[in-house]
């Protein structure tokens, strides 16, 4: 496996990282985690434990309380990895009044400056997600599952090195789920990118993960709501 060969530089490095919104209340502590190109890492655990906060921290939206966080060779929060990071938030973060094409082009915009290239990438991503017929529709008219596909297409159009996806497979029917997952995993493998997914469905998590990161309620100190992370190779 690439990660074990040590030939590739990791796309994500976390060393002694504590995360949370309040410096006196650490939600998750991760002693050591490296994510290499081509890897799919799934973060699982009960709701409210801090999975999404961990993803938001890696995305540079929340500063870590302590530790070293390196994303695509950039140390956060000082130097964010502009354009190299794709992010699908749990609430998707789509522009509801704008069209599918506009939203997908936003991703491409983050990746390239050429208008023509942006259009090519967007069209391709829209086709992969099976949204060609909906490309001029405003997001607010789409179903929840279709909106998830738009958010995924936006990330595919961006072509980032590292994708962070927060429960991006929920609300999808089995057939669509399989096609969306295929599209994303193919991109990760072919482009030597990496994918970090928050997933509450543990069986689905095990199915797609190269590494499974289970965040469970820590009992190290019952007075602090601490957590410990276990890294399990599947």
């Amino acid at each position: 496996m690439q990660s074990e060969s040590g030939l590739n530089k990791p796309l994500l490095v976390l060393r002694d990282v504590s995360i949370g919104y309040d410096s006196s209340l650490s939600l998750v502590n991760i002693p050591n985690l490296e994510v290499f190109p081509g890897e799919i890492v799934v973060i699982a655990g009960p709701s409210g434990i801090g999975k999404s906060t961990l993803l938001r921290t890696i995305a540079g939206l929340v500063s870590p309380i302590s530790g070293v966080l390196e994303v695509c060779g950039c140390i956060l929060p000082e130097s964010p990895p502009r354009g190299n990071l794709g992010y699908i938030p749990q609430k998707l973060g789509l522009v509801r009044h704008a069209s599918v094409r506009h939203n997908v082009e936003l991703g491409a915009r983050a990746g390239v400056k050429s208008r023509k290239e942006r259009q090519v990438r967007s069209k391709e991503a829209i086709e992969i997600m099976g949204l060609s017929e909906k490309s001029t529709e405003p997001i607010r008219r789409l179903s929840g599952g279709q909106q998830r596909r738009v958010a995924t297409a936006r990330t595919l159009a961006q072509r980032p090195k590292l994708i962070l996806a927060d429960e991006f497979l929920s609300e999808l029917d089995e057939e669509t789920l399989a096609s969306v997952l295929d599209a994303v995993t193919n991109y990760v493998r072919e482009s030597n990118a990496a994918l970090i997914v928050v997933e509450h469905d543990i069986s689905r998590a095990k199915m797609m993960a190269d590494k499974l990161l289970v965040i469970d309620d820590g009992r190290v100190n019952p007075f602090i709501k601490g957590t410990k992370a276990m890294e399990v190779n599947v």
């Binding site: 995305a59 938030p89 998707l92 789509l94 522009v95 009044h97 936003l106 915009r109 607010r140």
Partner: protein, 304 residues
Amino acid sequence: MRTAIDGKILATSFSFMLMLAFLVLNGMVNDWGRLTGGVTNLIDFFHQSLWPPDWSVLEPQVYPVCTARAPFEFTCSTAWIGVIETIKIAFVSTVFGMALSLPLSLSAARNLSPKWLSYSSRFILSAFRSLPSLIWAIFFVILIGLGPLSGTLAMTVYTVGYLGKLQYEAIEGLTKTPLEAADAMGLTKIETALNVVIPESANDLISHAIFMFEYNFRSGTIIGIVGAGGIGYYIDLYLRFLQYDKVVAYLLIIFMVVLIIDFFSIYARSFFNEEDDLRRPSWSEVFLGIVRSADATDDFSDGL
């Protein structure tokens, strides 16, 4: 620490504010009997001087000679000339005001800009807003003389201040997820503003711009009094000659124009409303909007 607002606390607070307002008012009024006398005076004034309106304001002026053919002679009337000039002033000042206020409001929004930029932009907007458009009109009349240009500049400045505040409040009310997604993806602030913030807040921005146009049209009736152009000039003229029936005719015309602007607003905003996606009103339905509104009210009453 933030706490959830309890309905009971809200009701109690509002009742307290209401009582306080009555007490303050009572402190300012020394004779409540004047109020009943005032109503009687108003009824007398209405019957003797205001009603019926004098629609001769829609007849062509004696000079300059009207060259319009029938049935368009009304376009030579003071009411038409005044209304059209006021609409022009309102339109130009709203468009220019919006063009200037939008960059300022994007800078003033705390969810987009650093504190120093946000506060300095707010300072500029507050300065423009602190004087009413009438005072700005006096200022520009002194500066560049009588006429619609003074009125246009006055209302443009006021529009920047007023519209800017409405806009940055709308922008700050946006859900943070699209902004966060754009930030994480690496879009620049300008790209985020143009491609995320403006489309996402389009409903509010359009609504505010149309409201501002309507406000500027109504303000246009006031600034004419200080010689800054528009229908206000004629209203002031007939007020001085105590011809209140003509003033009422002008006011009714203004009311009609405001109604038309409101119908236009309904149609424009329907493109950004989820409810109207199901069935967008046609132009004829918009102008018959009173019927639709009445239906909506009935539905609401049934629900109660």
